[in-house]
Symmetry: C2
Subunit: 188 residues, 2 copies
DNA sequence: TACATTTTAGGTCATTTGACCAATTTATTG
DNA sequence: CAATAAATTGGTCAAATGACCTAAAATGTA
């Protein structure tokens, strides 16, 4: 990584931290410059304004998500495992309560931003579409209707991070329920 | 509604609009005062600071949600209808894509806020818990396991508003899938 | 009416913010 | 080495903002 890339990485990292801990309201060029220990005008040299910095930071976030997801998905050559194990494993990782998770906090900000920022909204949509595709591809080895399973599980996982803490079931009970549900549905 | 209540209602209404259209960043006491056509100091008389205004506005939002939900739920004395119809009707209303809906936009802001504001986070959690209870109560007339159905559908509906637009299924297909799923699961 | 309370008006002040600029330093390259 | 571009610095400026204050006006009440 060249010096330029390193510096940009540092800027984006501090911007991300600021976003997570203070929200969009707390994000200003000056504060980022302070955190990254560079002058305001130097920051402006790399990102001409707040908007550009924000866009780059969000794009970087989804890049990171992509890497995380693709790594965490079981590789498709270990097809020996049962569909049930795959589901359990995936759900165990995927079901996260949003209020205890830094990555979720970042997503909340992005989601709110996307309401009024079409280019950020496009990034969100694009990411979810890719995510769907990866999962469909993964599931395709186990069932003739991967789209069905994905359409059933993805919104659930996202919704769980929003309001899972208000559910009358524990995470384990939820996983049992979902696994059972999926297995029953594809048997139909 | 007394003059005082009318004025407070107007302030909260304009605050809500501002939040939806500009985000938390665009929310300042001055702008609210301008929109509500009162002096800044008058606004400060009713809400001592931004924080108090925000809290009251969020609380009002959830009050409104409560009213909406309780009204839209079929009254429990019309038990003649089938569970399937109930599910279809509820899902038709509940499955909303977040990017086309003003109420969703407001929720996005609130959700982002709740990351760093415990009292707002408490309002969110409280609302979802009540929402769960209402639905459990409603479903209780149709199945011995209402909690199961609610635990299955509520996160899904919330998640659908987040990423439904990236799903490979249409809303109608999603509803068919969910209804079928629920009916199969409770038959087990 | 006279008094107390609530509500409104107008203004100041210190801070923060984004935008902009001129000058200087640090690579890079011919 | 010299010239050119890239990177960095320090600083100014106007606008916006929250907090604060005082006085007046409206309203209710004894």
């Amino acid at each position: 990584m060249g010096k330029r890339e390193e510096k940009i990485a540092s800027i984006i990292q501090h911007t991300t931290r600021l976003l997570v801990h203070e929200g969009v309201g707390g994000l200003s060029m000056r504060r980022v410059a302070d955190l990254a220990e560079i002058r305001l005008s130097n920051l402006q040299y790399y990102f001409k304004d707040r908007e550009a910095l924000l866009k780059a930071t969000v794009a970087h976030y989804f890049e990171q998500c992509k890497t995380d997801v693709l790594q965490s998905l079981p590789s498709s050559d270990t097809k020996e495992i049962k569909l049930e194990s795959l589901l359990r494993e995936t759900l165990q990782k995927g079901l996260v309560l949003g209020d205890t998770n830094e990555q979720c906090a970042m997503f909340r900000e992005i989601w709110a931003l996307s309401t009024r920022n079409t280019s950020i909204a496009a990034l969100v949509k694009e990411y979810y579409q890719h995510y769907c595709q990866w999962l469909v591809q993964l599931m395709a080895s186990y069932t003739p209707q991967p789209q069905l399973i994905v359409s059933l599980l993805m919104p659930y996982v996202e919704g769980y991070s929003v309001m899972g803490q208000a559910l009358p079931l524990t995470k384990e009970e939820v996983i049992d329920l979902l696994v059972k549900t999926v297995l029953v549905v594809i048997d139909q």
